[in-house]
């Protein structure tokens, strides 16, 4: 296979891993309290809308990146400004995901410094991105099934501890709406990363349905995850929990074995690393499209080091990061991710009608 192309199946795996990876280290929509799982269901509509718009744009401008589309539709300078806005959202996602990965690794390896951990995470990412987009596609194929099996296993052993009383939705529509906004911002706005991968898919017109199916599976898993977390921990404990999924899994025991959660750490780490890798790859592809470059190779290392440095400089403490994580970061990524594709679709439709 060409090193610069992906198949629809690989893109679907990519989407699946990005969504799960982006959400596993985060708390469920805490603003929705007891109705967190219901909000996750509502927020998934935003992701579905984004897929629909991006696929439609791709059918109008086959194998054209979103930034090139915006230059074609809006003109060179406004198009680049809109493209930069979109890349800003990707940049925020990438540094947030790197921060998340690092925070969870600090829990596991408390004696290693944040700088060392970040560089350890970025170095394999640099190598993968150097190898070409299809490497990420193949990595997705390798990771997805293992992740799926481990995730389902984790769910199966956790289900008996769910208390249905914790799951009855509160009748407060405002709380549910806040939760929908929160979860739409993170992880569902991450669907916007597809904009950089779709132009590289070689069999998109024939097999795009597979992307919808894997999105649906990711939504089911995310909602199930929220059901388990709220149902096991209770909404009150959830509010004060930094890593609710880890706490839920920590309660699991298997025969005489304890610390069963470490077994699932593998899946957890693969997903969150993959999401960070995908956002980093999108930054490189976005830079290539923005500056009309023939390849992005020379951007990879400075971008990687930039992610390390900016994630340390932007999030100077974990406490700040947690407070930003609730709504500020989701809105920062949601607004450009929704606005840019919608604007381009409206302009494209308007021009077609003229």
């Amino acid at each position: 296979m060409n090193e610069k192309t992906l198949s629809s199946q690989q893109t679907a795996f990519l989407l699946f891993m990005i969504l799960l990876g982006g959400s596993y280290v985060h708390v469920p929509p805490t603003l929705a309290h007891q109705s967190a799982w219901l909000s996750a269901l509502g927020g998934s509509l935003v992701g579905a809308y984004l897929i629909l718009v991006l696929l439609h744009l791709q059918s109008l401008f086959p194998q054209t990146s979103l930034i090139r589309m915006s230059e074609k539709l809006l003109g060179k300078v406004p198009g680049k400004i809109v493209g930069l806005l979109y890349l800003w959202a990707v940049f925020i996602m990438a540094i947030s995901l790197l921060q998340d990965n690092c925070i969870i690794l600090v829990v596991m390896f408390p004696l290693l410094t944040c700088l060392f951990l970040r560089v350890t995470l970025i170095s394999p990412a640099v190598y993968t991105i150097y190898k070409g987009v299809s490497s990420i596609g193949r990595l997705g194929e390798l990771f997805t099934w293992l992740t799926l099996i481990l995730t389902l296993l984790a769910f199966i052993i956790t289900i008996p501890r769910v208390q249905p009383a914790f799951l009855s939705p509160l009748g407060n529509p405002a709380a549910i709406a806040k939760g929908v906004l929160q979860v739409a911002g993170w992880p569902f706005s991450m669907v916007g990363l597809l904009a950089f991968f779709l132009p590289l898919v070689n069999d998109l017109p024939d097999k795009k349905k597979v992307i919808y199916w894997w999105y649906l599976l990711a939504v089911v898993i995310l909602v199930l995850k929220d059901v388990l977390i709220v149902g096991v921990l209770s909404p009150e404990i959830l509010l004060s929990s930094r890593y609710p999924l880890l706490e839920v899994l920590r309660l699991d025991t298997f025969g005489g074995f304890q610390r069963v959660e470490m077994f699932f750490f593998l899946a957890w780490f693969m997903m969150s690393f993959f999401a960070m890798l995908a956002a980093y790859q999108c930054l490189a592809l976005g830079g290539q499209a923005l500056f009309s470059l023939s390849n992005y190779g020379f951007l990879v290392i400075p971008l990687g080091l930039g992610l390390v440095v900016f994630s340390l400089y932007t999030f100077q403490s974990d406490i700040d990061f947690v407070s930003l994580r609730v709504l500020t970061l989701p809105l920062n990524s949601l607004i450009p991710m929704l606005f840019v594709p919608t604007l381009l679709l409206v302009v494209a439709k308007f021009r077609n009608n003229l």
Partner: protein, 75 residues
């Protein structure tokens, strides 16, 4: 110390993998872009190492959303 070492390794790898090739192929616009990126990244890396935190910070952009967030959270 670790930061200096990391910068040194990244720069050395970059020169070996990319910079020499860019120069040999006379890709000057690409060299300018890469140079700009390196200047930004190295400035922030050195500021981080020296404990200088008053450079423009991406987190300031997040403040633009604060009024909206206050409305959402209190609404």
């Amino acid at each position: 110390m670790l930061m200096w070492l990391i910068l040194l390794v990244f720069i050395a790898v970059y020169i070996k993998l990319e910079a020499i090739g860019l120069y040999q192929r006379r890709q000057f616009p690409e060299m300018a872009l890469a140079g700009f990126l390196w200047v930004v990244v190295l400035t922030y890396a050195i500021a981080l190492q020296l404990g200088v935190y008053n450079l423009p910070n991406p987190s300031k952009v997040f403040d633009l959303f604060r009024p909206l967030i206050k409305v959402v959270i209190s609404g």
